[in-house]
């Protein structure tokens, strides 16, 4: 027997495994206890099998073992593909070709494991009487590409298209690119769909993510098996589609969709005291909040009513409260403030010595208070009492939100508020309102800032692919040069008055969320000619952008950004990626439906009935970004 010479490797072996279900041929073995193994036949086409033999094979076990290990697997695989190999002479030995297993499910606290054929049938079920199947699962995960099913976290699905070397290459290149930050199927679908629907922008977006590699070097990244699977299926789908494309349709790929023309949106008059009074009823309630916000968006707030209206915009006062309700709220907020202030004021020396976190914050606040807007009269000079108020508010805020504490940049956000309110408690609560809007700017891991920089890149790529391409080619697609703009909402770029004007406009959330990103896009659009004509790289771009400080016309920028917003929303090729950023409803579920059609397995995994499709799509696009 030539099979005698076959090499056999035992990868895994576990005793005390009971066979609970198996195909009819093994019926006599059901409920018997035996040994479960993973065996490798390096010289055979069928490299690996799951094998089980009963423990009570004591008679001539040597012979049994020998014969058992030399089973010719090739013939059986062909004959019994998808089912169990049957050998009348060895009906006690159960043997499953690994390639027939499409998934396995773990149950009963790791004591039961079922192999499945992917067609809805169980191949066999084992019960691990001694110990658990964890060891087996670990080995299976090591030798097979598995992923956990989304429908059932106890089910591990197996991917089996490893044999194609081209696919392995593809995997590697995609994994190296690391386009999918949290690798999962939704965004791969998104990416693939986007490559089809808007190839240019998608390519740019994808390129922009390559900066990761440029800066950090390409670490070896393993591709998530799920991503791998979807990618291949989708590429097949694309191949199939493209074969039916006419030449005209190919032209679409080279065509860069055009935006409507940029229109001018001159700013209006600021909200006046008279208007504000007229918008309140006799009880002080503001009926038409949208109208107020629209006026503010168009022209800001007149200085004689700004202090009052900011309290509403920053959620210290409530639009719908009557005078008496407002008074109650103010009283309550007042008490709360002083309770919190007392908390840190009453800290003893010993407490402080034993509280490193607190000490560090305190020291940071001290340092920053002394260098916040000292050139403004309000904070100028030694022993300026306003500095003490600035300090007290920041210290109290650190007690109010200890998780966030104090982060550099916060004093910049507080300074205009305190200047305007000129009242400790009011300034504190308005500052809280502002922080609620921008606290993600100060995340420990800077996730909020990174996300905004990515969004900014996406918007730039949509609005002006040529400029985005330029930035990409000049190591600047990370948009770091806009970091300061975003962190403190242009506070360092504008005069106090202009910063206040811009902030109140942005607080209206008109015409869309994340309008501050469009402000960035507008400024960049004005500067891009200088950047590109001079062939500036990352360093020069950063310098140029930093040096814009003090030279930005805030009204012109807001007007331009509004114009850009209208260009974007009117664009025929407006993408869901951009829609998500500016808070527009997304365009339905094209990618999800397509994925269903193209790949029932995957759509089953990614969708289940009770998923809200809109939020799903939202999450999907967000995560892709």
């Amino acid at each position: 027997m030539e099979d005698n010479h076959e090499e056999v490797l035992e990868i895994f072996c576990q005793d005390g495994v009971q066979i609970l279900t198996a195909p009819a041929a093994y019926i006599s073995q059901l409920n018997n206890v035996g040994t479960l193994m993973i065996v490798e036949y390096p010289n055979s086409n069928v490299t690996r099998c799951i094998e089980w033999k009963p423990i009570d094979l004591t008679i001539d076990s040597d012979v049994q073992d020998q014969e058992w290990t030399v089973v010719s697997t090739v013939r059986r695989r062909r004959t019994y593909s998808g089912s169990l190999p049957v050998d009348a002479n060895r009906s006690k030995h159960l043997k499953i070709n690994m390639s027939d297993i499409k998934s396995f499910r773990v149950a009963r606290k790791n004591q039961k494991l079922t192999f499945r054929d992917g067609k809805g049938d169980d191949l066999c079920t084992f019960v691990f009487q001694h110990g658990s199947c964890e060891g087996l699962v670990a080995v299976l995960k090591g030798i097979l590409k598995t992923f956990v099913s989304r429908r059932d976290k106890h089910v591990y699905c197996i991917l089996d298209d490893e044999r194609n070397p081209e696919r392995q290459q593809l995997d590697k290149s995609f994994a190296e690119l690391n386009l999918f930050q949290e690798q999962s199927s939704p965004y791969v679908w998104k990416l693939v769909k986007n490559f089809q629907n808007r190839p240019y922008e998608t390519t740019m977006e994808a390129f922009s993510k390559i900066t990761d590699i440029v800066y950090r070097g390409a670490e070896h990244r393993l591709m998530d098996p799920e991503v791998h699977n979807i990618l291949h299926r989708s590429l097949e789908a694309i191949e199939n589609n493209t074969t039916t494309h006419s030449h005209e349709e190919y032209e679409v790929i080279a065509h860069v969709p055009k935006l409507p023309a940029l229109k001018e949106y001159p700013r209006g008059r600021p909200l006046s005291l008279e208007q504000w009074k007229a918008l309140q009823d006799s009880e002080g309630q503001v009926e038409d909040v949208d109208a107020v916000k629209l006026v503010i968006f168009r022209g800001g707030i007149a200085s004689n009513v700004r202090k009052e209206v900011w309290k509403y915009l920053l959620d210290y006062h409530r639009w719908k409260y009557t005078h008496s309700e407002q008074a109650n709220l103010i009283k309550q907020r007042n008490e709360e403030y002083f309770i919190m202030k007392l908390q840190w004021r009453s800290m003893t020396k010993i407490q402080e010595d034993n509280f490193t976190d607190y000490r560090e914050r305190k020291s940071l606040i001290e340092k920053d208070v002394n260098r916040t807007d000292r050139t403004l009269d309000y904070f100028a000079g030694d022993n300026n009492p306003n500095l003490q108020v600035l300090y007290d508010i920041l210290m109290t805020y650190a007690m109010y939100n200890f998780d966030l504490g104090y982060v550099q940049g916060m004093s910049d956000l507080l300074s205009p508020i305190l200047y305007l309110m000129n009242n400790e408690v009011e300034a504190f609560w308005c500052f809280v309102g502002f922080m609620n809007k921008v606290s993600s700017n100060f995340d420990m891991d800077q996730a909020g800032m990174k996300e905004q920089l990515q969004h900014l890149n996406t918007l730039t790529a949509f609005y002006d692919p040529e400029f985005a391409n330029y930035l990409y080619k000049h190591d600047s697609a990370n948009m770091f040069f806009c970091f300061r703009w975003l962190l403190v909402w242009f506070k360092r770029e504008l005069s106090q008055q202009d910063a206040m004007r811009l902030w109140e406009v942005l607080w209206t959330d008109l015409p869309c969320q994340n309008f501050h990103l469009l402000i960035c896009v507008a400024i960049l659009d004005t500067e891009k000619h200088i950047l590109m004509e001079n062939n500036y790289g990352f360093t020069e771009i950063l310098k140029h952008i930093n040096d814009l400080s003090g030279n930005i016309d805030v009204s012109a920028v807001i007007g331009k950004a509004e114009g850009m917003y209208n260009q974007i929303v009117d664009a025929e090729h407006l993408t869901d990626a951009v829609r998500i950023i500016i808070g527009l409803p997304i365009l339905g579920n094209a990618s999800v439906i397509d994925s269903k059609e193209a790949s029932p397995d995957i759509s089953d995994l990614t969708l289940n009935g009770d998923t809200d499709e809109v939020s799903y799509e939202n999450a999907l696009t967000n995560s892709f970004l």
């Binding site: 070097g217 390409a218 260098r371 916040t372 550099q408 970091f483 403190v488 930093n546």
Partner: protein, 208 residues
Amino acid sequence: MATRKKVLLKVIILGDSGVGKTSLMNQYVNKKFSNQYKATIGADFLTKEVIVDDRIVTLQIWDTAGQERFQSLGVAFYRGADCCVLVFDVTAPNTFKSLDSWRDEFLIQASPREPADFPFVLLGNKVDLEPRAISTKRAQQWCQSKNNIPYFETSAKEALNVEQAFQSIARNALTQQSQSVDLYNEFPDQIKLTNTTNRNSNGDSCAC
């Protein structure tokens, strides 16, 4: 020899918030001191032409934010640095204690080819202030333990030793740059690809 080539030296200033990084940079480049510098947000740099050993070189001095959480964004700025200036405040012991982590973080993020030989310079700033918390000896000991980093005690406010410190910084950066043309791994991807291949042949060679 490329000695007449125009030389640009990139210098990164690191250290805790408020130790005087911006002030040192401005004192050196603009000969000015102000109590009113704002906390640095993001990063900025100034350039200055200097003569080092009869050669004209351009120093590009990078100033970054000092608060720890902003360091994750520092990597873009650290790359390609020729010298790293570590700054602490001689009156604030915590800023001295942080030096190790600043140095380590720089080496991790900038990943120079020879981390042990990468030029650092230590500045103990604010010597005009009292009371002194970190003695000269203690700072020097730290420098010795780090492969003899040059140490200068400075006052950005009084312009004390600033010029000398940056001369030394420029010289160290220049020496390093001319000694090894290639301070950084020029083709990191190639090397990584080799790793990848190895790993694939070892680990992933399963179900074929």
